[in-house]
Subunit: 466 residues, 2 copies
Amino acid sequence: MDARIQALHARLQAIVGSEQIFTGNETDRWAKDWTGQFEGRPFAVVRPGTCEEVAAVLRLANQYRIPVVPIAGNTGLNGGAYGPGSILVSVERMNRIREIRRDARVAVVEAGVIVAALDAAVEQDGLTFPLAFGAAGSAMMGGVLSTNAGGSNVLRYGNVRDLCLGLEVVLPDGRILDLMTALKKDNSGFDLRDLIIGAEGQLGIITAAIMKLHPRPAYHATALVALEDLRVAPALLNAFQDASGNAVTAYEFMSRNYVAGYEKLMPTARRFFDTAYPAVLLVELATVRNEALEELLETVLADALERGILADAVIAQSDMQRQEMWALREAAAELAFHRHPVIDTDIAVPLERIAEYMDRIPEIMRAIDPGFSDIAVAHFGDGNIHYTVWPSKNDPIVEAALRAAIDALAVDMGGTFSAEHGIGLCKLPSMARHKNVSALDMMLAIKTAFDPKGILNPGKTLPGRS
Amino acid sequence: MDARIQALHARLQAIVGSEQIFTGNETDRWAKDWTGQFEGRPFAVVRPGTCEEVAAVLRLANQYRIPVVPIAGNTGLNGGAYGPGSILVSVERMNRIREIRRDARVAVVEAGVIVAALDAAVEQDGLTFPLAFGAAGSAMMGGVLSTNAGGSNVLRYGNVRDLCLGLEVVLPDGRILDLMTALKKDNSGFDLRDLIIGAEGQLGIITAAIMKLHPRPAYHATALVALEDLRVAPALLNAFQDASGNAVTAYEFMSRNYVAGYEKLMPTARRFFDTAYPAVLLVELATVRNEALEELLETVLADALERGILADAVIAQSDMQRQEMWALREAAAELAFHRHPVIDTDIAVPLERIAEYMDRIPEIMRAIDPGFSDIAVAHFGDGNIHYTVWPSKNDPIVEAALRAAIDALAVDMGGTFSAEHGIGLCKLPSMARHKNVSALDMMLAIKTAFDPKGILNPGKTLPGRS
């Protein structure tokens, strides 16, 4: 260690305390992501306990011109928290739920609060924090805000941007941006809040937030629906929404290969259908008032069955069965990353074109890599498809071509190459290829305005920067 | 006219055509706002017919370094479209509804489309564009997007930001920013859309947008509710929401002075109560499904009456009566601006503190100007109060002091000085006084990044710029 590095280390230690700085092997926990795609030793991991400590770390980093990478639950899929040689600022110690305002239905949380922990904390008040995805048990507020995370309940409650009212942010130069209001309406100048949400730590480090809560549904009805043809799924969704007064909380698609893959990976898991249907949907209705949801579900399903729209359907008869259905859907990330190399995507298309996308994409894959295999799940109601491809061999060129083709078809169909996971490192080529050039220019201009020295999370999100 | 000005005029004419450029007296229509607060002769008004023409005008303005002020329906209240000596770019000719996608529930509209016209155009498809406020019959998309307009239905449908999926924007230097996607999820980089919505024409001129539509409620129930004490209003709102499964579309407060002022201004209008109560609420429930809403309304009101929460209530017995109730509420702007000088505000506080605000503010006003008079209406469910004060005399210092005190109390109570009308010129002092300094700095940095020559709508929105 040269003197400059020693001095930096000592000053970091002075900010966070000697217990809260980690180097060398001590950084293992943070040095790689669980997907196995990114591994690299940071200069140090620090765990500040307050917003002011985060600010001091950033001021120091600016002085030393050393990159800083914020890290929360480390559950991202695109390498957003990868920081070899950087100071990794972990927000995990800032994990207090500062306040729950039951009547106003808001919670004031720090960036290290785990998503599922907030939901659990408000349950007793009859409220829910409805963000729902596989990693909700370890993902933290700072991360889900920085990626504008989505998941299975977006159809009903929106994504994280829709669930956030206020933010506390440390700017790249260490200034603190206080946007901690709990107002539903606030037109006092540019919308910095929504700019920083989803900015993947490029514009500042989120240290706290005011999140919206919703009345906790007391009644659920859940079903798995088998389809011969995915083309009927949009109309079926409308039927559920119209019959229930928009009570659909989840409408999740799983491909034939997905269900087969799950059954192979989890041989003891319950099988809901004897036949391997082309498409299975998980439908869930939920309400605060008692609305006889199961009957409602049955009526819509019986009608659809009669009209030949459905192949089969199973309604969960118990909470246990409901959980088994969700286990099937929530195995997606585990299933995707149990084999390597893997291409995991989160494209979106207009929802009426999902069936067309699913029809066309395998041929395109086959043309590039005849031995490919795939699975697909989708947050159908949002048009958001997680199409996962395993190339037949470890060839970076083939892999890049497959990835590019998946994204290009989505964009061609009026969609996007990144619906909810963000850009990170994985999506930079598609960002460069498909994003409107003026939009990229303005994003770079904003980045430069916020972070002229390029300290925060460099080399990610925006192509064309070092 | 000197040669440079003649040349600029000729070049503008070459872009938009000689029929679409107006100078001198021809600009009267645009040279003042209807509130009577702002009047000033522009250099010229041009009415481009396309996004490309807007781009050419902006390129030219950059070359000549002449300010450009976008103008749509000219219904703003804070002087955002005031542009003496500027090129006023009116978007009114760009008034095509390009496409209505019924199944996807989106409309592709140009910036000159009138709010109410879009709603009328989608009615036959069983859909609604639910933005509702007094000026909806003349306000245009470009304006409501640039101010992130709100209104009476925000409680149910959100503000304009929540109703917009995609944007087409001409940047200050004439480049075109194409963000015209109709996706519910798109995490491809920074959220430029939400940054430009509500930016009051500082960052670009919006030329087209993709707007969300909602199923048109077929069933309504509307009531006026009289209260002796506004403190009960939050609990009453929750009672309506819980009983109806969140079917409340409007929950509007009117003060005693407001109702009295309306009755004086409109002597032939129907009077709903014999007594002048401290607070009157307009409550409206609306659903797509038939839910016996009137009964539901009656049940909640009867229960509240029994518990002594209400003083009186009237349920609309016909569409005519419903319209009479709405006429009372929607006279707010007319009522406010029929006397001058007037201070019109759009503060917000957490909704559980509205009653406290309304209790405290008159005393503060009285201390500054004992002869003041006031009215108040509020989008109660959003915490958004339009508190209007008429000072007893025409004294700019007293007027500024009153305005400052109204805003300061809102901010003190965890609120904002601008909930939905934006900053424009009127709110610059409060913006300078109350907005977080780092937030102002970053807004200025963004403005400079987008518009380095300061061509677009200069001197507004952001304090501290010339």
